[in-house]
């Protein structure tokens, strides 16, 4: 097809518009946010009940934080794409936006969603779980931030895949787990370092790994998205 060369500014505008559309829709329906927050509250209280008066080792507690995050993310992040498919608006978006703008718009939305939810999770978790102490705040903050970006990146592309499949609900955790596992192991390790009181420099290796994971997943998803998105 002969058409104008897509200009980068136009592309950014489309991306922003997709993001804003999802954000406004979420603010209006609050579907994903309420599900996510309820999930976080439920899992944290289950952890509280099962621990009872006994404490757990800091290692186990820093691992459990990410278990909460993982399952919360699994319950909410697929919504962006599944919702379009369920309401039949996938074609509408295909008509309006270039594939890349859809991908980055949705990625941005998931990023905002997961960062917000993770912030709430971390605050609730530190407030209610007694044995969970962070000695090196800087490591922890960077870990939560990079972890959120990584989760959003992996979740977005998997959501795009399962939205096009027939049985969605059960498929999402099955497909995500092997993809997210290296990220999960890495953030758990970094959180453990933060609770051990390691120096910021000691976690540099983890951060390097997290950053390269994020870039690799985002770049390869962006390349593959066009194929996933178009029938």
């Amino acid at each position: 097809m002969s058409a104008a060369r897509p200009s980068f500014r136009l592309f950014l505008r489309s991306t922003g518009a997709v993001f804003l559309k999802d954000l406004r829709s979420e603010l209006r329906t609050r579907y994903a946010v309420s599900a996510l927050i309820m999930f976080v509250v439920t899992t944290i209280s289950i952890i509280l009940f099962s621990l009872g008066s006994e404490g757990a080792s800091p290692d186990a507690l820093s691992g459990m934080l990410w278990v909460v995050v993982f399952f919360a993310a699994m319950s909410g992040l697929s919504r962006t794409f599944v919702m379009e498919e369920e309401r039949g608006t996938t074609l509408t978006l295909q008509l309006l936006a270039p594939p890349g703008a859809v991908f980055f718009g949705k990625l941005l939305f998931n990023l905002v969603l997961v960062t917000g939810v993770n912030a709430v999770t971390v605050v609730l978790y530190s407030a209610f779980i007694n044995g969970f102490v962070i000695r090196t705040m800087s490591i922890f903050v960077v870990t939560v931030l990079l972890g959120s970006i990584g989760f959003a990146a992996a979740a977005t592309v998997i959501a795009a895949i399962i939205a096009r499949a027939n049985t969605r609900g059960t498929l999402y955790p099955v497909l995500s787990f092997p993809i997210v596992l290296p990220l999960l192991l890495s953030v758990i390790d970094a959180t453990r370092m933060a609770s051990e009181g390691a120096f910021f420099g000691e976690a540099a290796g983890e951060f390097q790994l997290l950053i390269s994971y994020i870039v690799v997943v985002i770049v390869s998803s962006a390349m593959l998205f066009e194929y996933i998105w178009k029938d």
């Binding site: 002969s2 489309s14 074609l91 509408t92 309006l96």
Partner: protein
């Protein structure tokens, strides 16, 4: 308007599950012309419509769209407007919001006055601020016309143009079709020959299996 505009398909074909839906579909249309697509259910009308609009890639063959040299150059996706039963609006938003979202995602400037004019024309102006979810199916169909026309597309593609419409609605659609014929290319996919008065080219998918 749009004198250089032309769409042409050559030997288009599509398969699903290795079963051919259609093959050897060739056509061309220039500004001011109407293309009619007919064929019984399952003959691939909607598939061809999606291929023309660029949301589905053909299994083979080529589709060429030549833009008018004089006018402003548009991105490929902004050349087309589509109305069809399987196209859904974002139903938690109102009609006006849908139009502004569409223009935003297309990367084009949104003109509220033009939107209001369009909504008036398709007669849903009084309820333009209600969520689309609350509309009746006929109103949704009218809203889709506004959605397809807001960026004044050089090529307007109508799949089952009259579905869910009452007498007033069909009159509005006939006016839209006549206007599009003057301005650019009109593609209509239907089996109801009363939907359309004249056409310049016809693709009968029953012969293209």
């Amino acid at each position: 308007m749009n004198p250089g505009l032309r769409i042409a398909g050559k030997d288009l074909r599509k398969e699903f599950d290795r079963r051919p839906v259609f093959r050897d579909v060739s056509f061309s249309a220039s500004a001011g012309e109407t293309l009619l697509v007919t064929g019984r259910n399952g003959s691939g009308k909607s598939t061809l419509v999606k291929i023309i609009c660029g949301v589905l890639s053909p299994g083979g063959g080529t589709l060429t769209v030549t833009q008018d040299q004089d006018g402003p150059v548009r991105e490929a996706r902004n050349l087309f407007g589509l109305v069809s039963p399987y196209l859904q609006l974002f139903d938690e938003f109102s009609a006006v919001e849908n139009l502004s979202i569409a223009m935003g995602i297309r990367g084009l400037p949104f003109d509220p006055a033009a939107a209001d004019g369009l909504l008036e024309r398709v007669a849903i102006y009084p309820r333009r601020h209600d969520p689309v979810r609350t509309y009746s199916s006929g109103m949704k169909q009218r809203a889709k016309y506004a959605f397809a026309l807001i960026h004044t597309p050089p090529v307007l593609v109508l799949d089952e143009p009259m579905s869910n419409l009452d007498g007033d609605g069909t009159a509005v659609v006939r006016a839209v079709m006549a206007e599009q014929r003057r301005r650019g290319i009109l593609v209509v996919a239907t089996n109801d020959m009363s939907d359309i008065e004249t056409y310049d080219g016809r693709i009968d998918l029953n012969e293209r299996r």
